[in-house]
């Protein structure tokens, strides 16, 4: 191919001239303000927790607890963030977590031990994501409908497998992973997985062609198509990715609860969407932030924690959760419009 432009690696652009800095900083600044406002909310919660329950809240074990409880929904939210960034939605995440956790804990699967459970959970998640992706990308179905159908079928299949029974895990390797003895330098293995998924998600969204294409498809699918991006394949991969995250989350849930149940993952779809949105990911697509989503998850988990420590009941918890979603989004709008 002949070139009409100086090759990309020529020296002229390597060092950014001074003129570029202010605008660049402006862009950075906007992201920072958004993240800072979330950190502010989280800090406020920490203060509230620390004042109301100083001994129980400001405690290593409580930190471990909050992070552990955030792990399962956190991993799901990372996948959801990609899907929403691309302008889609995945309503089936909770049902996929349920199906994967149930399938991976049947008597037959448990005979294959640790590896069998892990493998089954991940493959079932990916398989459901594949079906979602094919229906949406190549079947031309609206994501809302396709994943709603998956929600219904996966929950139904999970019920069929369990007959409504709780499947208790007897594989020691799985159970041990949730015990204090297997903490690595004080960090629970579940939290390590959550951290790894978060970092991987951040890198993929911000540093790879895959992430760039995701943002492009979400920002303007027609422009992305005319720019030569294979929009349909990208969509397929995105739902696959969400399914993969659900599979990993299902495995974490099996470790955490020592069982598989068809009621698992109840309303995860709403929690994950809410966390992503208050994190700053645009529901209409084109902008997504893994940092924001994870902060969103941590905010929700911390609220639940503070409420439980203060022995407030579920009615109050639900009201406060709604209020905090509204408040967080309003604060963001305010800060975003003043910069």
């Amino acid at each position: 191919m002949t070139q009409h432009v100086s090759p990309p690696r020529d020296g002229t652009g390597k060092t950014a001239p001074a003129g570029e800095l202010p605008a660049w900083r402006g862009l950075m600044g906007r992201t920072d303000v958004r993240t800072l406002s979330l950190l502010g909310v989280l800090a406020a919660l920490v203060v509230i927790g620390g004042v109301t329950k100083p001994d129980e809240f400001l405690d290593t074990r409580n930190l471990q607890l909050v992070l552990t409880q955030a792990s399962v929904i956190g991993v799901v939210t990372v996948g959801m963030t990609f899907v929403i960034t691309s302008g889609g939605i995945d309503l089936s995440v909770g049902a996929i977590v349920a199906l994967a956790s149930v399938w991976a804990t049947t008597v037959a699967t448990q005979e294959y031990g640790f590896a069998g459970i892990l493998f089954t959970a991940v493959i079932v998640g990916v398989g459901c994501g594949l079906v979602n992706g094919l229906l949406i990308a190549y079947g031309g179905m609206v994501p809302f409908i396709a994943t709603l159908a998956m929600l219904a079928s996966a929950r139904g299949l999970a019920l069929q497998i369990t007959d409504g029974r709780t499947q208790i895990v007897t594989v020691d390797g799985i159970l041990d992973l949730g015990e204090r003895d297997s903490y690595v330098l004080g960090v629970p293995p579940l939290v390590l997985v959550f951290a790894a998924v978060t970092i991987a998600g951040w890198l993929v969204l911000n540093r790879t062609t895959f992430g760039r294409r995701t943002v492009a498809v979400g920002g303007n699918a027609e422009a992305a198509r005319l720019a030569g991006i294979d929009v349909r394949r990208q969509r397929l991969y995105l739902y696959l990715l969400s399914g993969l995250c659900c599979g990993i989350a299902a495995f974490l849930l099996i470790v955490l609860s020592g069982s598989g149940q068809n009621t698992n993952g109840n309303l995860y779809e709403l929690d994950a969407i809410a966390a992503a949105i208050i994190g700053g990911t645009l529901l209409s697509g084109g902008r997504g932030t893994i940092t924001g989503s994870v902060l969103g998850v941590l905010i929700f988990t911390t609220i639940t924690n503070i409420f439980a420590l203060n022995n407030l009941q579920s009615d109050v918890q639900q009201i406060a959760k709604g209020a905090i979603i509204v408040a967080a989004v309003l604060v963001q709008r305010r800060t975003a419009s003043t910069t």
């Binding site: 294959y112 709780t166 015990e179 955490l256 009621t263 924690n305």
Partner: protein
Amino acid sequence: MSHPVSRVTSRRGLLFGTAAVSAGAFLAGCTSNESKDETPAANGQSAADDKPGKHVTIGFAGPQADHGWLNAINDNAKKRAEKYSDVTLEITEGSNDTAQQIGQIETLINKKVDVLVVLPADGKALTQVGLKAMRAGIPVVNLDRIFNTPQAYRCWIGGDNYGMGLNAGHYIGEKLKDKPDARVIELAGLDNLELTKQRTQGFDDALKNYPNIKKVARQAAEFTVESGQAKMAQLLQAQPKFDALWNHDDDQGVGALRAIEQAGRDDFLMVGGAGALSAFQAIKQDNGVLKATVLYPPTMAASAIDLARALGQGKGVGGLAEYEIPASLTLYSAVVDKTNVDQYMSTGFR
């Protein structure tokens, strides 16, 4: 220039395809839940006498068995009916949809079954169809979730949620009555159900008899393992020291026990609810915090079949002086602990 690329893709595709097929085969084999020790459901005793009598067709309509306890209800009804040579059981596909359940019951009425046993998805919403059956001359045995009016059933048989709380409270009270400033906590079930409120009320009323005991915390889970684990983990962090725990439901108790184990706590006693097999086994082994569970017995479905058969054959209840079947039977929420667990083991549900 696109040729090498596409060849790579297709080879990758082939590999992926092979992997997918073998994974699929593996997964298909992994849906099985067959295990060797299938438990017999109801106990052998019967309420009516066992001599075969007039043939009775019983229609049975229940909700979708999406929970271990409801599953046990269906099992108990089926197994009980099989025991009688003079009973035919017409059982419907379980449904949580009120409209669908009404349709199913109307079908049973049209089939002219002799007696109906109905566990409604929603007692209030199904009252009308109960009335319809009664007017058609089909006696209705209302199982557990009660209709709005006694006119809609001939006999109601069900559990006692208030009694569960009461008995759990008394059991804990007796264990802790000599301990000054004892602290107990409660892991409740789904808070928007009335039965949860009743269980909590019974528990609180029982504790009033023990002035040395104080309930220091209560959190509501959702009858699921996942929520049981999450809420219990929080409770354990909130209460570094307490003496007893009352958990409304053995299913969520699986998660609660998991959280207790993960937190490495064993400094209190725990009482469960409902009567799951896993709870019975833990009580029998007696190596953890779970010391007892309060029954909400699924055997009530077997008893309902007995009552229906007796109604169909015009008999009374054996052991009572009455000529007629009682209009209402509230079951006792027995406390199962190490001393009597063997007796109940066979009724435990999974």
